[in-house]
Subunit: 204 residues, 2 copies
Amino acid sequence: MPERGRPRTFDRTAALRRAMEVFWAKGYEGASISDLTAAMGINSPSLYAAFGSKEALFLEATELYTQVEGTDIWSALEKAPTARQAVERFLRQTARAYSQTGRPQGCLIALGALHQDSSRGAICDDLRRRRAENREALLRRLERGVAEGELPADFDCGTAATFYATVQHGMSIQARDGASRSALLETVAGAMAAWIAMASTGAA
Amino acid sequence: MPERGRPRTFDRTAALRRAMEVFWAKGYEGASISDLTAAMGINSPSLYAAFGSKEALFLEATELYTQVEGTDIWSALEKAPTARQAVERFLRQTARAYSQTGRPQGCLIALGALHQDSSRGAICDDLRRRRAENREALLRRLERGVAEGELPADFDCGTAATFYATVQHGMSIQARDGASRSALLETVAGAMAAWIAMASTGAA
DNA sequence: TGAATTATGTATCGATCAACACAGAAAGCA
DNA sequence: TGCTTTCTGTGTTGATCGATACATAATTCA
């Protein structure tokens, strides 16, 4: 199926990946069109022709981020044989991902646009929705643990899901502060220490 | 000691407090001079005459924030009779402070400037330093718990301090997402569940 | 080959950014 | 009463923001 008109001279997906990295490092409003076009290797008219607007580009970038960077973390959650291992691997993968060198530290979804503004309501809403989905995924895995008898029937899955999702968010700020992998794993150790008490008595 | 020249027609401290609230809600780069002067009820030359620059104003605002908003949280840490109660009250005060209505949600120190940039290195450094001080205060209180015999000698104060500081940071993002007080207290419950395991076996 | 279509590069749009020039106003000091 | 000092309001600065106009280049379709 050949395309009409002059073909694009850059790789759209590669350019999107570069844009994702800029947004990841600088946040939505901290990333200017100049920053983006410089990293993408194109001029601004090409950016607008290919992606529509800065906002639309950001939404595509977060989707790419979710697929590319989130896979390891969330597959760990699904594939682990027990809920406890699922949560632990989820957090350990997070620690690993947030402390990789040569890339921005912390999570684009968590840090990309925290300050709501009339001009970026859609951006904040999108990220909020994705953060809520993270908690939902945790919640589903915990409820599975209850259904399978691994966890007591009175285990408070909602509290635990909120807690572990919040810990992960905190790890993004910790990573932005330059925390080493071992420092992030300290947080993981603390969070997993909570598991014992939560699983044995029901939450808190 | 009377001042020379025309006296200021606005209350400098009150104006600073307004500026603090704007920075708190919008972050450093999200708060424009127009936003600030509108909230402070002054024109920009008065702002620059009284505070020097946007950056200097922000640094004063964070200092005011630390003194005004941080007092309850950190006095809870110092005054509680046991380390455990200290940490729990610290987190519960955090949940309370982060979910008060009629004010920005979450913490100015945690959320004010997460994306480093050449133009705001001093801002990021200042906030990072204050976040590090939070962890240090937690660490000192925990070490006191060990010294007083409340906690076992092999209790890993560093790990626990990192963990609880990170939980608090996560609560800022949770609060920004509109979490209710009870949702924040779920996170507190999870974090305190970790205490039992950490204090009984040494950290994780 | 020529018309239609799409992408690219240059150059720029109006808006807004942080910051300030300037003149007049309001105080203390002589 | 001047004189000095400091603050206030109007207006504006150059830079940068996100987003486009426009002409040209490169492709498909007829």
